[in-house]
């Protein structure tokens, strides 16, 4: 007989989009795991010669038509005499080759030791030439490096927040469902009250509580807490429903007759039996968390400089004139979209795989 796990894996693999999403997520998490190494520049380092520089053009063939491997040109900054706008001109005589494993700006690898080894980059001084895959921002910082490092916040905030909110939701939901009576009524009315609040003002109100003097790592965990304080309610609802049906099952009654205490019934029987549903619900609620973090940071109440996140990076693209002249500042938004879509695909695939009868609807 085929085990449940084997069945889930087989059915997941038939879901093409889900597998695709899983691969994309794996790539994204691998990238943020080695963010400092993958980024060609330090994400906080400013470069005054490359303020608002557009993405570099990567070339392979030089002026004389010879194959030179991938290279970029050095840039010269000048001002348009009419509009006074900064324009970047390529120095057509220069060839700055892109190399693997170059020594560049220093960074701390996993916060443990200092190194200056990068996966790829150019060996030219950043005053003359920079490899800017996604362009630069208004301080001349490399946007690609910032997107990779910002992903560390955006991609983990969802995971951590969901973990916390599923934890709270599972416990509150099973208490509510298992004990019933006035505990249930109290918890359910409280959830309804919180849910009837508009979401963004509630986030903002909670985010304002975080003191501005906090260091950025504390702010990060503060944001996680804020997100999960709101996110647990959906999980609690689903959990309550499942516990309501599970608690009438005879194996729960058998445990009660034997004298197993209530909390132990919840942790030993109820939660393990809802685990597959909890995993699905979590996967489907991660995108909401990622969007939530982006929204808070976009509005300036979340992650603060010098730390960065995709939402914070998007903040630079707030004004229309900015967007018109520097459209590459929208790139972090594409990453948010990719991450959210991938999680949705994976969540949908998991839901179909775990639950052939579709009892958990998207929340």
């Amino acid at each position: 007989m085929e085990g449940t796990t084997a069945r889930i894996i087989r059915s997941f693999r038939q879901h093409k989009l889900g597998v695709f999403g899983l691969v994309v997520l794996a790539v994204l998490y691998l990238a943020i795991l080695f963010a400092g190494f993958l980024a060609p520049y330090d994400f906080t380092q400013t470069h005054r010669n490359f303020v608002y520089a557009p993405p570099s053009k990567i070339r392979f063939i030089d002026e004389d038509g010879r194959w030179r491997g991938p290279f970029i040109r050095a840039m010269k900054k000048s001002r348009d005499p009419v509009t006074y706008q900064v324009v970047f001109d390529e120095d057509t005589s220069s060839v700055v080759p892109i190399k693997l494993f170059v020594r560049g700006e220093e960074y701390k690898f996993w916060g443990l030791f200092k190194t200056n080894l990068h996966l790829f980059g150019v060996e030219e001084s950043p005053d003359r030439a920079m490899l800017l895959l996604f362009g630069a921002d208004r301080f001349g910082r490399d946007l690609f490096s910032r997107v990779v490092v910002g992903g560390q916040v955006s991609m983990t905030v969802g995971l951590l927040g969901t973990f916390l909110s599923v934890f709270i939701g599972a416990i509150v939901g099973s208490l509510s469902g298992y004990y019933g009576g006035w505990i249930d009524v109290l918890i359910q009315r409280f959830i309804e009250l919180l849910r009837s609040f508009p979401r963004i003002p509630l986030w903002l109100a909670l985010a304002v509580i975080l003191p501005p003097s906090w260091p950025s790592t504390w702010v990060y965990f503060g944001i996680v807490t804020v997100l999960s304080l709101i996110g647990w309610m959906g999980v609690a609802r689903v959990m309550r429903g499942m516990v309501l049906s599970l608690r009438e099952k005879e194996f729960v009654l058998a445990a009660r007759v034997t004298g197993v205490p209530g909390m132990k019934i919840i942790t030993r029987h109820l939660i393990p039996n809802t685990l597959s549903y909890l995993i699905v619900v979590s996967t489907l609620s991660i995108p909401g968390m990622i969007l939530g973090e982006s929204a808070i940071s976009f509005l300036g109440l979340g992650i603060k400089e010098p730390m960065t996140s995709w939402g914070l990076l998007l903040k630079q693209a707030q004004s229309l004139s900015e967007l018109e002249s520097h459209p590459w500042l929208m790139i972090p938004g594409i990453f948010i979209m990719i991450a959210v879509l991938s999680y949705n695909f994976v969540g949908d695939a998991l839901r179909d795989a775990v639950d052939p009868y579709r009892t958990v609807e998207k929340i």
Binding site: K249, E250, A254, T258, R268, P272
Partner: protein, 329 residues
């Protein structure tokens, strides 16, 4: 020695409706049930679906809180405790070890996420009966052998077993703490006939070895007859007749019991016709029970009195009680 006795035990379930879930009615599942069970005795409870048999079992093990009446529990040291208003903190562990239950559906009564070892070990751990992993594992192996399974099954999961095997596992779990009273809530109704007899004989063997008391709830008259010393017949939450097993089968006194008996097909194919007493209609709803005797709308012998007054149980012969106006007219 009595283990449990009940007096005028009632269990009503509220029906809630409306926005604020006001109570709009009651399901009268148990009405004034008096029973007692002594050490080593088996009491059979029979009746059709919805008559309150399972409610009685579940109220006695305190899964349900009784609405009124008393449940008296006598612990092994001889002290009596009233359980009708919640269990005292000191009595609860003794009671939870002393009274165990087997459920109807073996596909539902074992946690699908737990191995058989963990399932059987759970009561032992809860009551801290054995110290050490080795002693526990030995006890689990011993229990599995006692119910006729291989000790190697301990690391498997419930879905790997058939219904009969699962019911054996459930029995092993319930007898692991050496209870004095085992409540069997239709333990064989989900099994096929050959497996039914194995389970029943297993229960009889265990009872002979341990002098355990059984409350055996079933709708199968033959099974109950085979198992029980005394039989209680229930109808719409009321005990209509109770008597020693053989006496009840030989001389059913209450019209409902007579009807029930004659509904059992004969073993003889030439004698295909069912018995003489035929009932019409369905049992009434326990939400709105009939006045007077609960059985009067379907009773073939009803009198004018029957719809007005509820009959009291009278002793028709030695130890044979029946609640019917016919006995007193």
């Amino acid at each position: 020695m009595k283990i449990i006795s009940t007096r005028n035990l009632k269990k009503y379930f509220p029906i809630r409706s409306g926005v604020f879930l006001q109570i709009s009615g009651w399901v009268r599942a148990l009405e004034n049930v008096n029973m007692e069970i002594t050490q080593g005795e088996t009491i059979g409870v029979v009746g059709e679906s919805g008559c309150g048999k399972s409610t009685l079992g579940r109220t006695i093990v305190k899964i349900y809180e009784p609405t009124a009446g008393s449940i008296t529990y006598r612990d092994p040291s001889g002290a009596s405790h009233d359980l009708s208003k919640g269990i005292d903190r000191r009595v609860e562990p003794i009671f939870r070890k002393d009274v165990q239950m087997i459920f109807q559906n073996p596909f539902d009564s074992l946690d699908p996420r737990m191995t058989i070892r963990d399932t059987i070990r759970e009561p032992l751990q809860t009551h801290r009966l054995l110290a050490g992993k080795k002693a526990m594992d030995e006890r689990v192996a011993e229990l599995l052998m006692k119910v006729g399974l291989y000790p190697e099954y301990a690391q498997r999961y419930p879905h790997e077993f058939s219904g009969g095997q699962r019911q054996r596992i459930a029995i092993a779990r319930s007898i692991s703490v050496n209870p004095r009273l085992l409540i069997c809530d239709e333990p064989t109704s989900a099994l096929d006939v050959s497996v039914q007899s194995q389970i029943i004989n297993l229960l009889k063997d265990i009872q002979r070895d341990t002098n355990m008391s059984l409350i055996f709830i079933s709708h199968n008259l033959d099974v109950v007859h085979h198992m029980s010393d005394r039989i209680m017949v229930m109808y719409l939450g009321n005990v209509v007749e109770s008597a020693p097993a053989t006496e009840l089968f030989d001389n059913p006194a209450h019209p409902y019991t007579q009807a029930l008996m004659s509904a059992v097909p004969s073993w003889n194919p030439k004698d295909r016709k069912l018995g003489q007493v035929k009932l019409e209609g369905e049992p009434p709803s326990p939400i709105n029970p009939p006045s007077g005797c609960p059985f009067h709308p379907r009773c073939p012998h009803r009198l004018a009195l029957c719809s007005k007054a509820k009959p009291e149980a009278v002793e028709v012969s030695d130890g044979h009680f029946s609640a019917c106006h016919l006995h007193s007219v």
